[in-house]
Amino acid sequence: MIPDHLNLVPPPLIWGIRLPYQLRWEYVLNNKDWFIDGLLLALEMALIGLAFGSVIGLICAFLHSSGNRVAVAVVTTYVELIRNVPLLLLVFIFHFGLPQAFPRRSTGQELVLDLLPTPERTFMVVLSIYAGAYLTEIFRAGILSVGRRYLDAGRSLGLTRMQIARSITLPIMLRTVLPSLSNTFISLFKDTGIAFFIGVRELSFAANRVNTDFFRPIEGWAAAGLLYLVTAWFLAFGLRFLEGRIKWTV
């Protein structure tokens, strides 16, 4: 399956040995816009996934902690289902499956096309749902970490359950989950690397394009890998720095 095309550019002879493959970085450098735009889109999608995923996760976590049987069952099913299925399959379901699930030109299909007009949008929706399942677990652990005595204190002040959740549990919990949020963001950033498969022009798309357009797979993927790596390290470092800077009043 690999490709005669690797031999399109004849490799040089060194000390009488023919090198099988010669790296030609100009194919990456001449198209660095692909990579830069791809990197920015990847970060944007990860950020959106984190934001919407956090909303989903918070709602689900509080629903779960309400103890309502139906709510617990629904949230548990959602979390377990999403966490035990590959992201790529979820992407396929939303990208290929959903639009086809409704009769042509039905309101259902129009709705799907309105909600998921582009592959970018589809991927962000899927990533949010995917992130939501993991963030539910993170927030749930956060809620559990809030000590009883805080809740008792709130109850003795006569606060309603809603007020306790908003003014006591939430702020204390956010403090403990912050490092997990940073990690989730970095994971989501790396997870965006499969979106090129449905035509999203993220960072891996650039690598793949260098391969398909110029038959230069190693240069393209190595360049993308390096960018992922450096960005992930910067994010890890920067987010940890920010976590330290946040002043907590609780």
Partner: protein
């Protein structure tokens, strides 16, 4: 749903490929991880630095990058790997990096007093590692190892991009041939869920089994 059932033999072939891939990768990855984790803690400074670089680089990139680089890289340099071999290698390298960190973390939480007590009895490094440190670290590794195994199983789906043989590929192929995407995807979802869930349960069972004497 009948359309899916009609394709069961092709789908089963895909699933078999995926299960084979998973089995190879989990064994290789765990072996790499145990060596890597021990090396990260006790290796010579140069070995530690190299392992640290390996672990951080692989964990800092999406799995898909590792897969593509190992799919094209070795062949381009004259090492002929089958597509199964190259994707198994990529996944094993990925699993090994994560496993190294798991093993290192678990060993590092064993209290220093345990090592002191073992030294005091006159045990040398390897017996200390195998009789005292690893038996205590093992139960700590199993939950994260189980999570990793689930991630690896899900990760095998990325083989669809290069291998043209795994489960997701066979699903995708039959779905487009028969035109019933959603039915095929939902069936695939059930299969992945059952497999991943089984891995989790097996991990939980193992975890209970290995906790003898440990509170």
């Amino acid at each position: 749903m009948e359309v899916v059932w009609e394709s069961r033999e092709l789908l089963w072939q895909g699933l078999e490929y995926t299960l084979r891939l998973f089995a190879v990768v989990i064994v290789l990855g765990t072996a790499i991880g145990i060596l890597g984790g021990v090396g990260l803690l006790y290796g010579h400074a140069i070995i530690r630095a190299l392992l640290r670089a390996y672990v951080d680089i692989i964990r800092g990139m999406p799995l898909i990058v590792t897969i593509f680089i190992l799919f094209y890289g070795p062949v381009a340099y004259g090492i002929n790997l089958s597509s199964f071999q190259s994707i198994a290698l990529a996944l094993a390298i990925f699993a090994g990096a994560h496993m190294s960190e798991i093993v290192r973390g678990a060993i590092a939480t064993i209290p220093r007093g345990q090592i002191d007590a073992a030294k005091s009895l006159g045990l040398t490094f390897w017996p200390r590692l195998f009789s005292i440190v690893l038996p205590q670290a093992l139960p700590l590794m199993i939950p994260p190892w189980t999570n990793l195994a689930v991630d690896i199983f899900k990760g095998t789906s990325l083989a669809v991009l290069v291998s043209q043989a795994d489960f997701l590929f066979s699903v995708q192929k039959r779905a487009s041939a028969r035109g019933h995407y959603l039915a095929f995807y939902m069936s695939a979802m059930v299969v992945y869920f059952v497999c991943c869930f089984a891995i989790s349960r097996a991990g939980a069972w193992l975890s209970r089994r290995t906790r003898i004497g440990l509170a």
